[in-house]
């Protein structure tokens, strides 16, 4: 969530990190054949709007749960967080544990009944029922824009990663992946996207799990890894989640525990996991309320396990990566790679900020062809570790996992865009009286059009790299105001329609203003994060927190001076005005609360274990 490799900064001119053999190519080709087979198979089962946009609402808790967690498990995200683990140690795990688990459990236990009972097709659809048309159109428009731009940016980013890792051309990667995604989503709709997300989840584990297993064997287990990291890095901060968060300057990430708990653990995490339609859509496709509540809880167990294949390889990279002459390979920040490959006048200053020895820095500056002078960024740690341990076939499986992660992420963006475009923009604003089959056709066309626009956005980014950072910031700009709007709408009967719309609108304006303020003058970060020692990582979490609180305040104040809806109109939408459906009795081991409490206990235990 909200952390990706910035491909504009990757060294696209460098030699590929890995070389595929025939067997690897066959492994990749089999994957493409499989997803297209699934698309054609599901086409015959996807005729009505409910089937196309909501997968017939017949997914089991397991499928919805795996799809829910998989929609967030893109390849760029995996590479980015592995790079963060190399840079910051297990602090990066916060984005997988406190940045996900409490919100997922809250969605399953508390919020899901309202989403499910009101039978909405989308999160903007819920806003329509609760606050009216204006709030829906604002949320739908911002979400649709975000999905298209993110899809394009991710497509381009993945093409750059394929070029860096394998040497493939950008156009080849973009066209092949866009064609495959368009084909299987336009044919099978959300059902096809969900099937492929589950498939991708299995592939990611099958392709990436070997890296930490073999790495731990070579590092000599946990004790060997710890002792070597302390020897290389001269600190044990890399193994502590909370111990060094008492001040901004005591940890390499430059964050404070208040930002992690309230900014990440509440504003960003709850915003993403409970209101971002990209993930909520997967749970809405469950076949009954119990499955819909169980899905995020099942997903939480897998989410807690993801650091094993993401964070651990990053840590292992600190001690195991070697240059071709056997010396320890030290990775550097992306901007150092950018200014040194090809060489620019900023290279010397950038190299001084790294931990590379003076001798190696001189070799880089003199462009000497030595093993140590070949620079790689933190974000390349995962493919470098794959190339280290995976031979023919297995490397193809690992690369397939990365491709599958990208394609399912793009399919998620496009399928969510298609639903929101058709039900929340086209239907209310352009054609209210179309037949069900008409809206399915509109949905299919919007998928093709969405992919074409995404490709255009991808090429636009290629020629204007600065846009990339702004597009990736869209996520954190929109999500926090949306969270406050939905939470107050769902749990406060007094919240009114004008307040919901105004709160969302002003919250987005406030969030954008904070973003622009800091980007125009980075020194302003100390005001946003409340400390002169704060680093850029702190900006997102604190901006989200302030935007959420600001939106809540606007909704509260405007609600006090505007007329609320009658209670009868809030049934099915608001806590206290909705008789929650009673669920059929089930054996204790199928009880939603039992599994949620178990997930919570494991979450607490992991945080204590890695304190």
């Amino acid at each position: 969530m909200a952390h990706q490799v910035s491909p504009s900064l990757l060294a696209v001119n460098a030699m590929p990190l890995a070389h595929l053999r025939l067997l690897d190519m066959i492994v990749i080709a089999v994957y493409f054949a499989m997803v297209i087979w699934i698309g054609f198979y599901l086409r015959g089962r996807t005729n009505t709007g409910e089937e196309f946009f909501m997968a017939g609402r017949e997914m089991t808790a397991w499928i919805a749960g795996l799809s829910f967690v998989s929609a967030n498990l893109g390849s760029l995200e995996l590479m980015g967080w592995a790079g963060s683990a190399y840079q910051y140690g297990i602090l990066a795990t916060h984005w997988y544990w406190i940045g996900a688990i409490p919100a997922m459990l809250f969605l399953g236990l508390v919020m899901m009944p309202f989403y499910y009972v009101c039978k909405t097709h989308s999160v903007p659809g819920y806003l329509f029922l609760r606050y009216g048309e204006h709030a829906r159109v604002l949320a739908a428009f911002s979400f649709a824009l975000e999905m298209i731009l993110m899809s394009g940016v991710n497509m381009f980013a993945m093409a750059v990663v394929m070029k860096v890792v394998l040497g493939w051309s950008l156009t080849f990667s973009i066209l092949v992946s866009a064609f495959a995604v368009t084909l299987y989503v336009a044919l099978g709709g959300l059902r096809s996207a969900i099937f492929n997300e589950v498939l991708q989840f299995v592939l990611i584990w099958g392709g990436a799990l070997l890296v930490p297993i073999l790495g731990m064997i070579q590092a000599g287990g946990v004790s060997g890894l710890k002792s070597q990291i302390i020897k290389n890095m001269h600190t044990d901060s890399y193994f502590h989640l909370w111990r060094d968060l008492g001040s901004f300057s005591a940890n390499p990430m430059g964050v404070h525990w208040t930002g992690i708990v309230f900014g990440l653990g509440f504003a960003i995490s709850f915003g993403y996991w409970t209101t971002d339609f990209l993930v909520v859509q997967r749970v809405l496709a469950a076949h009954n309320l119990r499955a819909a509540r169980m899905a995020p809880i099942i997903g939480s167990f897998f989410k807690m396990a993801v650091p094993f294949i993401v964070i651990l390889p990053g840590l292992l990279g600190l001690v195991l990566l070697q240059n071709t002459d056997g010396s320890r390979r030290q990775l550097v920040p992306e901007d150092t790679v950018k200014v040194c490959m090809p060489m620019s006048s900023d290279c010397a200053a950038s190299l001084k900020k790294t931990s590379l020895s003076a001798e190696v820095q001189q070799d880089v500056l003199n462009q000497k062809d030595t093993p140590q002078s070949e620079l790689h960024s933190y974000n390349e740690v995962l493919p470098l570790m794959m190339a280290r341990y995976l031979g023919p076939g297995l490397l193809g499986l690992g690369i397939t996992a990365l491709i599958a992660g990208f394609m399912s992420g793009m399919a998620g963006n496009i399928s969510a865009f298609s639903t929101v475009w058709t039900y929340d923009l086209y239907k209310p604003l352009i054609n209210k009286k179309g037949s069900d089959s008409h809206y399915v056709i509109v949905g299919r066309i919007s998928i093709v059009a969405g992919v074409i626009v995404s490709i255009g956005a991808g090429y636009l980014v290629q020629h204007a790299h600065g846009i990339m950072d702004y597009v990736q910031a869209l996520f954190s700009i929109f999500i926090a105001p949306l969270l406050a709007t939905i939470l107050l709408g769902m749990f406060w009967k007094r919240a009114t329609a004008p307040a919901g719309f105004l709160g969302l609108l002003l919250g987005i304006v406030f969030s954008v203003s904070l973003f622009v303020w800091v980007h125009l003058n980075p020194a302003n970060l100390k005001y946003v994060a409340l400390s002169p020692y704060a680093k850029p990582m702190a900006e997102n979490v604190f901006r989200a927190l302030w935007a959420c609180l600001f939106t809540g305040l606007v909704i509260f104040l405007v609600s006090l001076v505007t007329k609320p809806k009658p209670i009868a109109e809030l049934e099915g939408l608001v806590y206290g005005a909705t008789p929650l459906p009673t669920e059929e009795p089930v054996p204790f081991y199928k009880n939603v609360w039992l599994w949620a409490i178990l997930a919570l206990c494991i979450f607490v235990a992991l945080n204590i274990l890695f304190w």
């Binding site: 997914m59 070997l210 073999l214 280290r388 341990y389 031979g391």
Partner: protein, 76 residues
């Protein structure tokens, strides 16, 4: 997914089975060729003595067979 038709688990089983057989087959070929015919392990790959493709390919094959059989189309 509930109801009739091919379940996602069957598709996963087919994919795991194909991948498992390919990787296991390559691992066996690699082991035999290195042990008896003077072949070499791929350059730069670490821990080749563990014969990872054999046991990982075997594991994928076993899981693939299990899923293909348990979730085969038409099974009640």
């Amino acid at each position: 997914m509930r109801g009739s038709g091919i379940q996602i688990w069957f598709f996963i089983g087919v994919l795991l089975l194909i991948y498992g057989l390919m990787i296991f087959g390559y691992g066996t070929y690699e082991w035999v060729s290195v042990a008896h015919f003077g072949g070499q392990y791929p350059a730069g790959v670490q821990l080749t003595s563990l014969h990872t493709p054999i046991w990982w390919g075997g594991l994928l094959t076993a899981l693939g067979v299990l899923y293909c059989v348990k979730f085969r189309p038409g099974r009640a």
